[in-house]
Amino acid sequence: MTMASVNRAPRPSSLADVLDVVLDKGIVIDAYVRVALVGIELLTIDARIVIASVDTYLRFAEAVNRLDLQPSEQVAGLPGLMDEMRQGGSRSKTRGALSGAKESAQDFISNLTGRGDDDEDEDGDSSGNGPSRRDRGDRRAPASRRAPQRG
């Protein structure tokens, strides 16, 4: 095995992508009475933006027009789109938005329980020494998504 050379990550690096893996996925047992599936506050998800189709089309049009007007070595491409990516925070955060745009944006929006604080911790590695999130009273998770209960 040549694990070192292949650059396979054990898990996604950004918190948004980790959430994409672990939220609402996994086995379901529908006999819960005392066991529950509890919703979490998705602080990072509100950074995800959905770029509307027309907006995307216009950016592509701009890109092609620029290609036509310039020698091919000077191709500038999609400055508007790239600017927007930078505005939206890190590249990976915006990429997350794009990846979910069609299939899962609705899910994320419906899961969104409100704007989060100013936490920009993209990495999400909470094993560090920072203050525990439990100390921050505004970050309670509402029990908004309990599993259906059956007697």
Binding site: T2, V6, R8, A9, P10, R11, P12, L15, V18, L19, V22, K25, G26, I27, I29, V33, R34, V35, A36, L37, V38, G39, I40, E41, L42, L43, I51, S53, T56, Y57, L58, R59, F60, A61, E62, A63, V64, L67, D68, A76, G77, L81, R95, L98, S99, G100, A101, K102, E103, S104, G124, D125, S126, S127, R133, R134, R140, A141, A143, R145
Partner: protein
């Protein structure tokens, strides 16, 4: 309150005691031949930051043993509730699912196409060139620009589809199953259900893919993960398999 992270075979539970020290301090609750991996958690439930240690724990387990993952936020008041509501009612089915997953892990490949390169690749096509001329004409309006952009976007999407299929054919062939999780804008996310002994072959295929895709797309490669994307198929063979756009 207990966070329920996943299920393992009871006979594998020594692996949990053996784990490297993480923030969760997991332990097992055993019921028959199945064990739930749990950890203490505050009553108010998880926050987004809990996602990383939850997944890290499952990833560490699945590197060695079969794991059925629970969704983040699965909470039980005590061991008794875990035994009675999770383990006891479904013990046989759960054990069969774990056995079915014994040699299988999930790998994910994300292809992120460069929009500049993609647009440049289709700009020379006659239809696009004609639309570009119309969009640049003196009396052109927003409609002309949208028409051009729409045509470019469509051609780019077709190109992304074609290249993805071509580039990931080798990976799809060495996987037991594969599925396109999402394909939006210039990003395609693929999950592969791969036998453990074929992971090195997948690694090699991804290395070759990165060579081929150089300058056109970035390739992200993650795993082994629990078989999140294939639980319905492998763990419950009665349900119909999801279809991908290529019918893999």
């Amino acid at each position: 309150m207990l966070a329920v992270h996943g299920l393992i075979r009871a006979s594998d539970r020594a692996v949990v005691e053996d784990l490297s020290a993480g923030p969760l301090h997991p332990r097992t609750v055993v019921g028959g031949q199945v064990a739930a991996v749990v950890s203490a958690t505050p009553d108010e439930g998880p926050a987004a930051e809990d996602a990383v240690p939850h997944l890290d724990l499952l990833v560490e387990l699945v590197a060695r043993i079969p794991v059925l993952p629970f969704a983040l936020g699965t909470l039980a008041p005590d061991d008794d509730a875990v035994r009675k509501e999770i383990l006891a009612p479904e013990a046989e089915r759960l054990r069969a699912q774990l056995d079915a997953l014994e040699d299988l892990v999930e790998l994910r490949v994300v292809l992120v196409f460069d929009p500049d390169v993609a647009a440049a690749a289709v700009a020379g096509e006659p239809e696009i060139a004609a639309l570009a001329r119309a969009a640049r004409a003196s009396r052109s309006g927003l409609g002309d620009r949208v028409a051009l952009g729409e045509a470019v976007a469509q051609r780019v999407a077709e190109r992304v589809d074609t290249l993805t299929e071509e580039w990931t054919r080798e990976l799809a062939e060495l996987a037991d199953r594969s599925v396109v999780l999402s394909a939006a804008e210039q990003e395609v996310r693929i999950a592969l259900l791969v036998r453990r002994d074929r992971v090195p072959a997948a690694d090699a295929a991804v290395s070759r893919l990165r060579e081929v895709a150089q300058r056109q797309a970035e390739i992200e490669y993650v795993g082994p993960l629990p078989a999140y994307s294939f639980l319905d198929e492998v763990a419950a063979p009665s349900s119909p398999p999801p279809t991908s756009r290529w019918g893999w």
